[in-house]
Structure formats: C-alpha cells, structure tokens
C-alpha cells in the first residue's frame, strides 16, 4: 500500500542509509505549494542528525510535483552542496523532469536586486523632498501659463473651444451641484442668524441679524462655501477623469493626434467653472439670506419686508461685484489645480487616487490663500 495514503497525508518520506554513509531519500505522493512547509520540516528533522557521505533523492513515488516541490528539490541540492556531498535525483518521471527543466536555479537562489523603495539617508531625503516641491511648483506654474495661453486663444478664436464639453461641465458642476449647495447655504444662514441673534438680542438689536447674515454671506461665506463644494465635487472629478486618461495613455493619443491636451481637456472645464462658480455663489448668497430670514421672521418677529430692506441696505454693489470676481478667481484655481493634478498622474490606479486627493487639498489651500489676499486688497481699495 502507498505509505503516503497509509499515514493519512498526501506525501511520504522514506530514508535508507547504506554502508559507507550513502543515503537514499525516497519522496512519494504529492509535493506541492500546499504541503511545502510540512515536507521541509520533516526533511529537516530527518537529515539534521545524519552525516551522509552521498545523497540520492529517489522520486519514483512522486505523483505530483509543482513549483513548491521543485523548491524542496533545489533546497536539497543546495544542502548537499553546502555539505560538499554528491547529490543526484533518481527515477525522475517525465512530468517531474519537465517541471525541473523549466527552472532557472541561479535566478531562484540569487539575491534580490536592490529595491527602488530602499530607505535612503536623511540628506538624500531632504534633497528629494526639495526637488519634489520645486518640481511641483514649476509644473504648476507651467500649467498655469499653458492655461492662460489657452484662455487667451479661446478669447481670440471662440470657435476653437469645445463648447459641447463646456455645456456638459456646466451642467455637471453647476446644475447638479445646486441642490446640495442650496441646502448647505440655507442651513449656514440659519445657523449664523441664530448664533448672532443670541448676542444681538441682549442689546435689542434684533434687526441687525439681517445685516450680519447678508453682509457675511455676500462678502465671505457665499464664495467660500461655493468654492469648497466645487472643489469637493468638481475639482476631484476633473483630476480623476484626466488622471485616468493619463494612465490609459489616452492623453498620449490626443497629443499624437495633434491636440493640445490643455486646450482640449482642461479649457472646457475651467471655462465651465468660471461661469458656474459666480452663479452658484449668487445662489448661495440667496439661500443663506433666506435661512437667516427664517430665523428673523419666525424667531424674532421681524416682518419679511423689514428683514429684506435691512439686508439690501447693508450690502453695496461693490460687495457683490467683488465677491463675484473672487468667485471667478476661485473657479480658475479649483478647476485649474484639478486638471493640473490629473495631468501629473502616472502609473496606475493608485496614482489617480493620490492626485485626486491632492487636487482637493491643494484646491482648498489655494482658496483660503486667495481669500486672505482678497481681504487685504479689498480693505485698501475701499
């Protein structure tokens, strides 16, 4: 009976030591990736105490041998070589021989080539980070230049713009984003009105809730709120879309067909954002003021008329216009950085994820920086 089956396992190892230390190890059954560990452990425990003068590995009983089994045989060979004893395989079947014939022994046992991910010294890392930041900066500036050139040529030659794409993105970024923006702005107006009224009530200055909400929404919160939502909804989408096209070599295809990727892919998105963000900002202002009004009318007995009149009184045309300009600048920053990060994706799916994240983070950062600059500039202009 097959010893392998008798022992309840799928392999068996049998050792015979002849006079003069000549040892024969008979392997039988299945030697595979599945039982590699147990075969090795058993071989180890058998061979450890012995000092054979020669090793013959009898493979007559081997029914199945895969790469795991071959690895065992290679290790036996290696063991014999290390102990400088002669080693040979006997009764190698056709299948086993075929398997062994496919294996490049040197490659299997060779040391790994140095990994690109090997840790480096601190100085190298500082240098690399510096280079990365510098490259990041130059590529952003280069892209901005490209984009401005594309915008300029679009002005001179409006027919060169892909208007179909433009309208598609207007709908995607604008119309589809309206419900969430309206809801959030309404709630924001509500909250500001409620919080400020708690303070203003002490002075009996309830009416000024309207001024505060109106002024705050138009000057700061409307544009910021819109920009944040557009960065999350559309900046990320732009980066993922272009990034995937980069990874699939679609952008390379565009270039070889003679298209300018910035003009073809980025321009419609940026133009769409430049139209949509100011409009959405107005909506955001409106819904914020409505939110405030609900608190004013329901909670503080103001009439709708007084509330609106007070709101109108507190906002100047200058505020509205400057907030719209701000919105356009935000739009260029968000859409631009989204596209630029997309164009930098290389490699695979992971890169698309990384640069999409980076698009949102960089977009939010730029919004805040630009907003601070606007605050300073507007202060001096007034």
């Amino acid at each position: 009976m097959n010893p392998a089956v008798a022992s309840g396992r799928d392999f068996a190892i049998d050792v015979r030591e002849e006079a003069g230390g000549e040892t024969t190890v008979s392997l039988s059954g299945r030697i595979s990736l599945r039982n590699l560990n147990s075969v090795r452990a058993e071989l180890h425990s058998i061979l450890e105490p012995m000092k054979p003068a020669g090793l013959t590995v009898d493979l007559a009983g081997v029914g199945y041998l895969d790469s795991g089994g071959s690895l065992i045989l290679l290790e036996l060979e290696q063991y014999a070589e290390a102990a400088s004893i002669p080693c040979r395989f006997a009764n190698v079947s056709e299948e086993t021989g075929g398997m062994l014939g496919l294996i490049d022994r040197a490659a299997v046992m060779a040391p790994l080539p140095p990994s690109a991910k090997d840790p480096e010294g601190a100085i190298e890392r500082i240098g690399e980070t510096g280079l990365k930041v510098f490259n990041d900066f130059t590529s952003t500036v280069t892209f901005l230049g490209d984009l401005l050139v594309a915008l300029g040529s679009a002005l001179l030659n409006p027919r060169s713009v892909r208007w179909q794409d433009f309208f598609f993105y207007v709908k995607r970024a604008g119309l589809d984003g309206l419900p969430i923006l309206a809801l959030l702005s309404f709630l924001l107006g509500l909250i500001i009105a409620f919080m400020s009224s708690l303070q203003l009530k002490q002075f009996g200055a309830n009416l000024y809730v309207a001024s505060l909400v109106g002024f705050g929404m138009v000057r700061e919160l409307g544009p910021i709120m819109t920009a944040v939502i557009i960065a999350g909804r559309s900046g990320s989408a732009f980066a993922a879309e272009i990034g995937t096209m980069m990874v699939n070599e679609e952008v390379d295809a565009l270039v070889t067909m003679g298209f300018n990727p910035t003009r073809f892919l980025a321009l419609p998105k940026v133009l769409a954002a430049m139209v949509v963000v100011p409009l959405l900002t107005l909506y955001s202002d409106l819904f914020g003021i409505l939110g405030g009004m609900v608190v004013g009318v329901v909670g503080f007995d103001l009439t709708i008329y007084t509330y609106l009149a007070q709101t109108v009184k507190s906002i100047s045309i200058f505020d509205v216009v400057s907030s719209l300009i701000k919105a356009v600048v935000f739009a260029v920053l968000i859409a631009g950085i989204g596209c630029q990060r997309g164009f930098r994706a290389r490699g695979g799916a992971e890169a698309v994820g990384t640069f999409t994240t980076s698009a949102v983070v960089a977009g939010l950062f730029l919004i805040i920086v630009a907003d601070s600059l606007f605050a300073i500039i507007l202060y001096y202009i007034r």
Partner: protein, 262 residues
Amino acid sequence: MQNIGKEPIITVENLTAGYGDNIIFKNVSFRVMKGEILVILGGSGCGKSTLLKHMFGLYRPKAGRVLINGIDAATENPEELDGIRRNIGVLFQSGALFGSMTLMENVSLPLEEYTDLSSEDIGRIVRMKLAMVNLSGFENHLPSELSGGMKKRAGLARAMALDPKVLFFDEPSAGLDPVTSAELDILMKRINAGLGTTMVVVTHELDSIFAIAHRVVMLDRDAKGIIAEGTPQELKESSTDRRVINFFNRIPAAAGAEDQRA
C-alpha cells in the same frame, strides 16, 4: 502532443451566452482534454472573449454549463469556487497587472492569499516564475516601466503563480511584434510540455495557431455557435466551409462572397 490525456478537464455543455437580450451564441458544446492546447478562433465580435469569460466563471451562462474538473464554473459554493480559482490562471488581454505594485508584489499576491508559505519561500517561487518568463532582474519594476511584451509575460507569471492546471489566454500575442509573439508561443509550449498545463487560447494569429494549437474550435457570429473543430492542419487543408477557408487564407468576407458567386 505526447501528454494529452484521455479525460476532459473542461466540459462545455449547451452553453448559451449573451448580454441582456442580445444572444451572442447558442448551444455551444465542446471539451478540453488534460494537457491540451485548445485555440478558439473567429472573427472580431463573434464572442470569443465572452466564451472565455464563461469558461472561467466570470460570467454566468444564460443556459447550459461549464464544468472544470467536474465542478460547475458558475458555482456559488465558496469551497468549490476556491478549488476552481486555485486551479486556473487567466492572462488578460492587457496583462491586467496592478499598476501600483511591483512585479514581485503582483506575482506574490495569489501566493499570499492561497498558501501559507513564508515570505522567503514566496519570494523564491516568484523568482522561479519570473525566470520562467525571462523576467529575472525585474522584480522591483512597476508595470508601467515595462514594455507591452514584458507586461504580457509578467501577466503570465502571475497567472502561473499557483501552478494552475488550466491557463486561459485572451489574445496573448495581440500587439506584440512577430519575434516577441513567437517567443511567447515557445514559452507557452514549454510550459505546456513541462508542467502539463492545459491551455485555452483566444488568438487571431495564424502563425501562433499553427505553432501551438493541438486543436481549434471556430466560432461564427452569424451562426451563433461553433462552425468548425479539428486540428489546424485539418481545417486548413480539408475544410469545405467558405468561412473557414477564408480565415485560413486571409480572404476578406466580401472577396470570399464574390469568389463563391463566380
């Protein structure tokens, strides 16, 4: 040829497949023997990839079934599924390597999932496989740093990681130069002969077909099924079917039709 077994490893029984209401082929039946290289032929859009995906259980059939080693490829029993998955390897048309992982990590993945080997052993097995496809020294390369042919070979190394009994190939030589393509054919034959791996291959390349196929099945879009079956020589020399003759002699369908009228 010496090692083609007598018993089938894959049995396709009355398979009907389609997308939605669009039936691609109906009542297709054939068998693949152990150790055989079977090539699936046919014009573009006749459903070769669809058939292949049904054969390794990616899609469920509309009717009929596919048995791999006696187990239904569309089974939902997790243990049976595990058994099937361990025993098949698939080389996708584009390689389908994971772009964010090195070759080493790509090939290690199935080994880590399906075996309990130490990382050192896995490393050795991976290098064994990479050496088989002539990619020694590229362990730490990312797929994006490889040429098209190298990606194919790396995909093959990953497909072979677990020493599958059956390998499926979707157009392995598409997009490769004739030399690389011939090298891939030799590699496939060596693996078939050395490991006794059964292979099911979709390809259009006549040269490859004659180099590797033990047997071919030819599908046709209008017939919605198999129109010819046999060794490549048989089909080339003794088929009377116009579509088969056209394929083996590279005659475009329109010209073939004129021929027939004349």
